[in-house]
Subunit: 270 residues, 4 copies
Amino acid sequence: MNWISASTTAQDGDLILLIGLKQRYFIFPLSTGGIFQTHRGVINHNEIIGQTWGSEIQSHNGSPFYLFQPGIEELIKTTKRNTQIMYAKDIGYILLKLNIVNGTKVIEAGIGSGSLTQVIAAIIGNEGHLYTYEKRSETQNLAKKNLKRLSIQNRVSFIEKDIGNGFDQNSIDSIFLDVPNPYDYLDNVKKALVPGGFFGCLLPTTNQVVKLLNEMRRKNFACVEVSETMLRYYQTEETKLRPTDRMVAHTGYLVFGRPVIKESLSDNNE
Amino acid sequence: MNWISASTTAQDGDLILLIGLKQRYFIFPLSTGGIFQTHRGVINHNEIIGQTWGSEIQSHNGSPFYLFQPGIEELIKTTKRNTQIMYAKDIGYILLKLNIVNGTKVIEAGIGSGSLTQVIAAIIGNEGHLYTYEKRSETQNLAKKNLKRLSIQNRVSFIEKDIGNGFDQNSIDSIFLDVPNPYDYLDNVKKALVPGGFFGCLLPTTNQVVKLLNEMRRKNFACVEVSETMLRYYQTEETKLRPTDRMVAHTGYLVFGRPVIKESLSDNNE
Amino acid sequence: MNWISASTTAQDGDLILLIGLKQRYFIFPLSTGGIFQTHRGVINHNEIIGQTWGSEIQSHNGSPFYLFQPGIEELIKTTKRNTQIMYAKDIGYILLKLNIVNGTKVIEAGIGSGSLTQVIAAIIGNEGHLYTYEKRSETQNLAKKNLKRLSIQNRVSFIEKDIGNGFDQNSIDSIFLDVPNPYDYLDNVKKALVPGGFFGCLLPTTNQVVKLLNEMRRKNFACVEVSETMLRYYQTEETKLRPTDRMVAHTGYLVFGRPVIKESLSDNNE
Amino acid sequence: MNWISASTTAQDGDLILLIGLKQRYFIFPLSTGGIFQTHRGVINHNEIIGQTWGSEIQSHNGSPFYLFQPGIEELIKTTKRNTQIMYAKDIGYILLKLNIVNGTKVIEAGIGSGSLTQVIAAIIGNEGHLYTYEKRSETQNLAKKNLKRLSIQNRVSFIEKDIGNGFDQNSIDSIFLDVPNPYDYLDNVKKALVPGGFFGCLLPTTNQVVKLLNEMRRKNFACVEVSETMLRYYQTEETKLRPTDRMVAHTGYLVFGRPVIKESLSDNNE
């Protein structure tokens, strides 16, 4: 159905995650006869095939690795990237705010390396669909490649187009724009969305948020929310429980809203 | 497929969201002849039926409301509760860490009012399944009721049982425990999970985290993570952009891990 | 020297802090024959006089109170206020950034109830001096009253004047403006400061910060810093160590800088 | 009086701060004939002597530097260190919580490189005094050297002694311990403090906080507070106002309390 196998053991063709010392992550598909090489030694794929998930596997020089099926957070954390990435802390909250669930029809633009693309595709199922706008074909190719290993590429349509010229779809449930100037596209967003649909953005600076809020007010968006998420990791030694020394301080401001039909002059919801 | 209608207008039987002044949320199913009453006036359901989503509707005394289909975040924010609630900021991150996507088989225990239940059920689709353990039948009934309005109750099995006696399933992909003493159930968790599956908890105090970390180490969990999420809202006036005065400072510490098979004596992944 | 007595017991005239049940704070001067009344009962000042600091004192109906000399943080936390207050988390950092130490000459404007006034006066000693600008005489009177109980009013000059008309001093080491439009006063700030002196502000909104940064650049301020402080309290039960449920999310953005003499065209320090 | 000169120009013997490109800080005393060398070129001290504070000075190869008198925050930020440092965000708050003002008598132990030592000495004036306990003479020498350049070393007594053997002073107003096991020294703390005095600690882990809270309860400390401070910096470009990408996530938990005399059996202040 997707990249997760129902078998309790690793098989030829499975997407696997090896975790080595110092929490180093390696994700790749198993193939009979293949060879996995790191600076901590070599493992033949054939030695992995047939092993139970969760097993410890050793490289030729004795360095240990754990064998897993990769979860979606591990996938996006290790996604090859050529641009700014999106973090799990933001993606998880965006999913809920934009009502991205089984069956949702979604547009995203400004996809970067496709972290969000992978998560949305994994969630909406075959009943939903994701339309991904990206005008740089190089970026799009990387996102396609990242997606393909999850065996869910049929749920996503990649569209190489400037969204200033409008979206090709309508009756879309949710739209997420990861672009620097979302305030320029609100009319196109409203045309593509179902009435009262869900709209969201991620913006690095307060100046952009100010401009977007102004434009959302003018274009009749309600349920407007500006928020930011933070994630603080702890060291996992039980005798020395404490936060890690440093953390990501800022990824971006999240802005959400839903278009409304304003016939009257009332100043509702403000 | 779920509670979201494909129609552009509200119809008899639809689950609707009305948002009144001061961002007051009301979620209920439309039924011909029904009456919606608040302290801001009365609206006959018949006046709502046939209105386009996103429209403004006025009560008999002129108080304005916006008409929407409720998204999952709006649903959990307004869920009737008799216990501690779970917040969207945590739920979103848990989904990613536990790889809860289309098709995932999930166990949760300690469901409260069923916020997480609703989200998981909305995401896994008919291809997945959620087994919900809760020994207090009153709590379970509230969660069932909250879930039923989403028309996805077929994806969830409610089980009234003390999890100290084990889970009835095995080959489960992901298990989330919202109970005060998860360290007492790790053996049962491992029996129910697929090899290398995903395990997570939410714990209010550092003392509980310390006990759980100790037990997870003894029971051979790898990929151990302790983290906390924070969400900061901003006021949405574009000329006065600033965080709100107060915020939720703490909901709980999140702890995640994946069981491994430790045959050797090596101290891997620590 | 200030409000702290060298005696180990409370004496007539001492400023005292009584802490009752539920951490209720009461700060007042002891006077022979005086009476302290709360809804938890009555205590005659004469019963307090002669008691050792740290003692437990009971009201006529048996309600317990602890007797202390008030520290500066306790003083500002309980200061009577008619405006927005300043928090210890911000004040402490401001002191260091503006080099407010023994002997510093300081100007502050927009004093509110005088929280910062009290702290600065307590720190600079008789070797320093604080010039406090406030055009509303009512506000100034409250600040004066709050200061007087600390017996250090001789270190502060209150000036009732609009700072748009300039400051009366020059050769000031450090200037702090708690006003909504500090960008309008930078020329006056530079005239009053010693060359290369310390300047700081507290501003609630990002819009104000943007305007101030722009003006500081134009007026040749270097060492520019924008920051915000947060303080998270924990519950103090050792078996349930955890943050409190809610916290102050925002008091204001702190902006600091030092004026420089820019003769050349170089774009230093940016 | 301290290291700050009243002159508007830099003179022989002054402690100066030069800030070069990329916010590089250099603090050193001016001396006739001296030479300042960096990888951005050479400046003769004689070229600096007589320059107005805030002036731009160029090295022999044209690299620009701003000339300032160093403030206390700049001093501690650049203090030479051989151990964990203390941050301004914590120091500022500690000053207020421990009532460290003009005239306060203070003990500190576990001084590291003497960041806190410098700040306390700068604030208490000649009317106060600081007793600094540190058993490693190497550490103590570094702290002494760091302090000496501020010309306020007369306010500090360095004591080379294990605090497990008690403090040599009594009638101390405020005690701060930066040691891993403060719970072992509470009896000695109480002996050295004035009745009802101020006590504080900085502890990295929750486990230590739990142990300290337990001991403070047993040893009758009231006004107990556990808190943590955070400081978030912003980028200072006014057209791109946003937090910096990364931040310090954790320095330590602050714990404060005041000893009380508990004669009765009542459970006050909890």
